[in-house]
């Protein structure tokens, strides 16, 4: 719906992005913390939103608001068009064959629960196995524990190597004909690791299993083509990719989606309701019970337009360059980095421990210098335990971050060292 008003690439700019122009689209980046300019290095938790997204959401609410798929009136039609237009935009962005392969959800947590319940509870029974990894976010662990408890299926884990990669050396014994589903992150939010999705998809399919992907981190930071990857299901979350909170969805191959049960029952997902049973619409609509976050999905489409305008290959190149720079500087400064040290095989979420300063203390001290990082276990306690740390500090980068901001981070580390030494 929105015109693309995105920055053009200028020669010589880092990774082909004109970061100066991009930053002007994000009003929040001009805030200060005390007398320090805000250095926002926490986009892996949630990204900031450009004016184009803020405006698209507000424009919908101001001039086109109505419930989608319900009202037989002008606004109802406009809302339905905007909502379904957003679905088509998402499908194009992910390389999906058609809009109907995209289920809107309120984010990846809901998407993975939908997979674990809607697929898991109808396809799994005792003796079956679910294979996930030790680097998963809790939203791709806990739903499977719940499903395993209900179905009697067994949950197994792909372990991690010392340098933060999936240890696939024992894959042959972990992935067998007992395995019915592999569910794996595309990019770890705690370690930055990019996983070999096509290889895992082929291995899963070879034993008759399907593969589901948590793309909460991958979708914002890397081009994705669900057909080239041959994944069966893929969840993503809008607020980490410049979009509004409560936007996001689940891609699924048509036959896989059709074989799933809805997780929520209610309005708009039914075909007909009788006293003793109901019939459902076909996918994706049978999964979208009740009033959805319509303005938010419209905002997500604007975010995708913005990212498309930049070009996802350029986004990836920019982040790779800034991550490489950050890894060099952090390691130089004496930080211990958890996860791969090679920027070409990882994303821009860099977990580290600086000397013996606890991550919580570090985050508080950095905040005093205007630098916003995350400290904690990043909802990935299995990965933390694997590397013997209760928590890490994490700096993460996106399209609007600069090397100067990496320098600000490293400069602020000196400050922490001065206090704690």
């Amino acid at each position: 719906m929105n015109e693309r008003t995105v920055s053009v690439k200028t020669a010589g700019a880092v990774g082909g992005l004109d970061v100066g122009a991009i930053r002007r689209d994000f009003p929040i980046l001009s805030r200060t913390v005390g007398e320090h300019p805000l250095v926002f290095l926490d986009s892996a938790a949630t990204s900031q939103k450009p004016n184009q997204v803020i405006d698209a959401e507000a424009e919908f609410t101001r001039h086109h608001n109505a419930n989608a798929h319900r009202g037989i009136h002008m606004l109802g039609e406009e809302a339905t068009q905007a909502y379904e237009g957003a679905r088509a935009t998402v499908a194009r962005f992910l390389g999906a064959p058609e809009p109907e392969t995209i289920v809107f959800t309120r984010g990846v947590t809901e998407s993975m629960n939908l997979v674990a319940q809607g697929w898991g509870r109808t396809h799994l029974r005792e003796g079956d196995e679910i294979l996930i990894t030790e680097m998963e976010h809790h939203s791709n662990i806990v739903p499977w524990q719940m499903t395993a408890a209900v179905t009697g299926a067994t949950l197994r884990y792909i372990p991690l190597t010392d340098d933060g990669l999936l240890d696939l050396s024992q894959l042959g014994s972990l992935l067998t004909e007992r395995t019915k589903i592999v569910s794996v992150t595309g990019m770890s939010n705690a370690l930055g690791t990019i996983t070999p999705l096509r290889q895992l998809a082929d291995s899963a399919h070879a034993v008759g299993a399907i593969i589901a992907v948590d793309a909460a981190q991958l979708a914002p930071h890397s081009p994705i083509d669900v057909q080239a990857l041959d994944v069966d299901l893929l969840g993503f979350t809008g607020h980490k990719m410049l979009g509004p909170t409560a936007s996001g969805g689940l891609y699924g191959k048509s036959d896989v989606l059709e074989s799933m049960e809805p997780m929520l029952g209610g309005g708009e997902m039914i075909h007909e309701v009788f006293h003793d049973h109901s019939t459902y619409k076909s996918a994706p609509f049978k999964f979208e019970a009740g009033t959805m976050p319509i303005a938010q999905q419209v905002g997500l489409a604007a975010a995708i337009d913005y990212l498309d305008g930049l070009g996802m290959a350029n986004v990836r190149a920019h982040e790779e360059e800034i991550t490489r720079y950050a890894l060099d500087r952090l390691l130089d400064a004496g930080a211990t980095v958890y996860g791969p040290k090679d920027a070409s095989i990882r994303g821009g979420a860099v977990s580290f421990w600086f000397k013996d300063v606890h991550p919580h203390d570090l985050a508080t001290i950095l905040n005093e210098q205007g630098v916003a990082i995350r400290a904690g276990h990043h909802c990935a306690q299995l990965a933390m335990r694997r590397y013997g740390v209760p928590a890490t500090a994490r700096a993460s980068f996106y399209v609007y971050n600069t090397k100067d901001e990496v320098d600000a981070l490293v400069g602020a580390l000196d400050h922490a060292q001065a206090i704690f030494s």
């Binding site: 806990v142 524990q145 719940m146 408890a149 606890h358 991550p359 919580h360 203390d361 508080t364 001290i365 005093e368 400290a375 904690g376 276990h377 306690q381 933390m384 740390v389 209760p390 928590a391 206090i419 704690f420």
Partner: protein, 151 residues
Amino acid sequence: MALDDIYKEVILDHYKNPRNKRELPGAELQCHANNPLCGDEITVFAHVDGGAVAEVTFQGAGCSISQSSASMMTEAVTGVKIGDARGLAERFRGMMAGDVEPAEDEFGDLVALKGVVQYPIRIKCAVLAWDVLQEALDGAGSASGAQPHTV
């Protein structure tokens, strides 16, 4: 930290040179808890004698706020009647809620933690040791009241 430098020094002093940080063999009261947000861990051991906290020690790992608070707590409640220790815990919590203005003679070094009120997410770190102490004094033995639900 925007905490005044003197307070910062008190906190760092307790963090780097924790008081009473050891196990207490034969302690009749012992209680453990952790703060899953950041992995802070505290175990409190106490000997009770004649209705007073005769000796109290702790073990743990975590950030400067949680660990210094534990260290200060052991100093503040040693030799104190159980009822008074509970009262101090209550008032400490009040200070961290911003409701109680700390009296220097009662609070001692603990006043240094007052600045943490500016960082709401870190108040949990400061009160962790006190939660464990109260739990130990209640004689409950195991960590914080309700057992976590297991799936």
